[in-house]
Subunit: 144 residues, 2 copies
């Protein structure tokens, strides 16, 4: 692995990236432990099909930034919704509940940036069946 003396990549292109298949679209890992020498940074590019989303969840010990590359995102941070387009971001402090849905008719492509690169305890906690999150989209005009 890697072009130089280390055992991990300094450069990651489609030839090196690691693809994970999740219900809300393929996740193309570009930076994480095992792929790079990541200590503080994780980077994954998500290709979210129309009609899908990653429902309300939180990362107890990971701070996150969402960066939209293509398409439209219905982005929630806490109880606040904003629709984001290419070049827009959302910042999600550690443990804050958030969700991302595809708000358009084409694939939504976005980067999820997480820090640090590893954590004790669960990386993700699903709260989508708990209130107020379970009924939040319906109560604000979104699809439940």
């Amino acid at each position: 692995m890697g072009e130089q003396s280390g055992t991990r990549h300094r450069f990651v292109t489609p030839a090196e990236m690691q693809v994970e298949h999740l219900p809300w679209g393929p996740h193309e890992w570009l930076c994480r432990p095992g792929l790079t020498e990541a200590s503080r940074l994780q980077l994954v590019r998500v290709r979210m099909p129309p009609g899908t989303g990653h429902a309300f969840h939180r990362h107890p010990s990971l701070e996150e930034v969402i960066y939209v590359i293509e398409g439209r995102a219905e982005q929630w941070v806490g109880r606040v919704r904003r629709d984001l387009g290419p070049g827009d971001i959302a910042h999600i402090p550690a443990d804050e509940v958030h969700a991302t849905y595809n708000a358009g008719d084409s694939t939504l492509v976005f980067l999820a940036i997480l820090s640090p690169a590893a954590s004790d305890g669960p990386a993700v906690v699903d709260v989508s069946r708990e209130e107020p999150w379970a009924s939040l989209r319906a109560s604000t005009g979104g699809t439940p």
Copy 2:
């Protein structure tokens, strides 16, 4: 500031971003302390004109990922050069010397992701006049 109870933004679009003008192009800050509640993540989008670059430097206590959005980057990590296109990344462990130049005829647009969001001591140390960095590009066929 901010759409919700806090004093910092959860969403950053061109209306909120902070632009810093440097010799190698405008830096559009999307996440950093003062703009968001950033603790572990900094994100800046750089628009680097043809013929310019950010010469060899290191961040003593910041880990970094470069993500190319548009154009071609001549990216150095240590003594290794790779030309990167849209969607490719470079991972730069803390304190590792690196440089980015525009390798094309159009504006190079890339994201620089840094962690943590603040650090003791200097954020950047310029080593571009020290060897081997001062003559590295010339010795490998690049423009000095």
